[in-house]
């Protein structure tokens, strides 16, 4: 980010500071920046912030792992077998049509509001993009490559391991990326509706108490975690591409 890019946030910060200093805005509408900073410092010092962020991250990791694994399996199955596609795809499409938020009240009645609810909702967020992209990746593998495999008398397992799966990797990676983003959004949703811990809970609690300083700290952390996940996936993608190039060059 260049110097010019920092101008606007800087100007906004000054404006925010002046507005709250002169009392243009009530503290309950927009707390002064210094106050937000102090709250952040206190919450870090007391370990409260790390506790809630840790709870949220653990939920996302577990939920995402289940959802991504299930999505990968279904995507591979539908990608490899027309029969599986015919049987499963219409049902999957109907399932995917309903927004994740829609499932939450239904699941609350079925499984209660414990950790299981969070894991299922987050897993659903990762599941749908994972299936769609894995399926598209496998179907997108060039038939010529499969032809080569046949000419080399590859077994089905070899074709899958050496041709189909490596060919689908970029698309699967896109699935992981969208899956993680959707998991993170789903996490915030489910924590807003039913939770007594986590970053989403900080939002609800702060809102109810009119502690907007806490709400803003929670929003910033949610944004930072999302940003960090995005960046690390970017890095991984670059690494994978480099590794593929080296593989081809060797």
């Amino acid at each position: 980010m260049g110097l010019t890019g920092a101008l606007l946030p800087g100007a906004l910060l000054v404006l925010w500071w002046i507005a709250s200093d002169k009392g243009f805005l009530a503290e309950q509408i927009l707390p002064p920046p210094a106050y937000v900073y102090e709250t952040a410092r206190d919450m870090i010092a007391s370990g409260e912030l790390f506790h809630h962020a840790g709870v949220s991250l653990r939920r996302v990791v577990v939920g995402f792992a289940f959802g991504a694994a299930a999505g990968l399996s279904l995507g591979v199955a539908m990608g490899l077998s027309r029969r599986a596609e015919d049987y499963l795809k219409p049902l999957f499409l109907a399932f995917a049509q309903i927004p994740t938020l829609g499932w939450i009240p239904l699941l609350m009645l079925l499984v209660g509001i414990d950790e299981a609810l969070k894991f299922i909702v987050i897993a659903k967020g990762a599941f749908v993009p994972m299936v769609v992209n894995t399926f598209a990746g496998i179907r997108g593998v060039s038939p010529k490559l499969i032809e080569v495999g046949r000419a080399l008398k590859f077994s089905d397992w070899q074709t899958l391991r050496l041709i189909v799966l490596p060919g689908a990797v970029p698309s699967i990676f896109t699935g992981i990326r969208y899956g993680l983003t959707h998991s993170w959004t789903s996490l915030v949703g489910v924590e807003l509706l039913a939770s007594s811990e986590g970053l989403g809970y900080l939002l609800v609690w702060g809102r109810q108490m009119f502690w907007l300083d806490m709400v803003i700290v929670a929003i910033i952390v949610i944004g930072l975690v999302g940003f960090a996940m995005d960046k690390s996936l970017d890095r991984t993608e670059v690494l994978i591409q480099r590794w593929k190039r080296e593989e081809l060059a060797a």
């Binding site: 980010m1 260049g2 010019t4 890019g5 920092a6 101008l7 606007l8 946030p9 906004l12 309950q28 509408i29 029969r83 015919d86 049987y87 499963l88 795809k89 219409p90 049902l91 109907a94 049509q97 309903i98 927004p99 994740t100 938020l101 829609g102 499932w103 939450i104 009240p105 239904l106 609350m108 009645l109 079925l110 993170w184 959004t185 915030v188 949703g189 807003l192 509706l193 989403g200 939002l203 609800v204 702060g206 809102r207 009119f210 907007l212 709400v215 803003i216 929670a218 929003i219 949610i222 944004g223 930072l224 999302g226 940003f227 995005d230």
Partner: protein, 260 residues
Amino acid sequence: MTATTASARLVRFRRGVTLPIVLLIAWEISSRTGLVDPRFLPSLDEVALTAKRELFDNDLIGELGYSLMRNIAGFLIGSVAGVAFATLLALSRIADRLITPTFNGLKQISLLAWIPLISVWFGFGEQAKVVFVALAAFIPIVLNTYEGMRNVPADLIEVGGALRFSWRQRILRIFLPSALPSIATGVHLGLIYSWLATVGAEYFLAVGPGVGGLIIAGRERFDMALVMLGVMILGLVGFFLNRLAYALESHLLRWRPQLG
């Protein structure tokens, strides 16, 4: 040839409906025989009865109308603002360098996390809901429009320069038309996100009329049939919005050569 494709289609159809029918039968049997507590899994005709009750005795259509109105109002505001904002960022170097980094930072914040702030600033009423839906449509439309305008071929821009186009003409005749495929993608995503946001707004911002409110009320009363009905409506509306987006996209892009 046609006979084989027709029979292949029949096979696909038969396979496609197998699993849903098996599930429905399993559902009906388990709720009839009491295998599963009917409070958790109401029988099919109970769901149908609830649908009838909500349709004729209560105002289901009206509730759906409220949700759709919010959705459309927010979507329109968000998409018009989004295209205008992205045009500004893509065409003005100063605006781009000044604003784009901030926008990219703010877009990292997960959409639902805005709800507490929006409720403080705009209250819990209609206004807050529409603002939230507009925000949901705004973000993908800005990203895609910006992307599309940045990739306008340089020779087209040069032609505009040679013809001494005014800024208005450049935007209307060159930038908007050549960014149209990208804008269409943004509009499609915006339509999907705005429906998600409509549901979210109805969940989190005070219960009022709307399908989301219906589902929340169903959960509070432990009325599983009502919740299921609501969830099905969400899915159906999502499905039709998706269809609408596809139709809109192919209509807007009908001048492009068909691929495949």
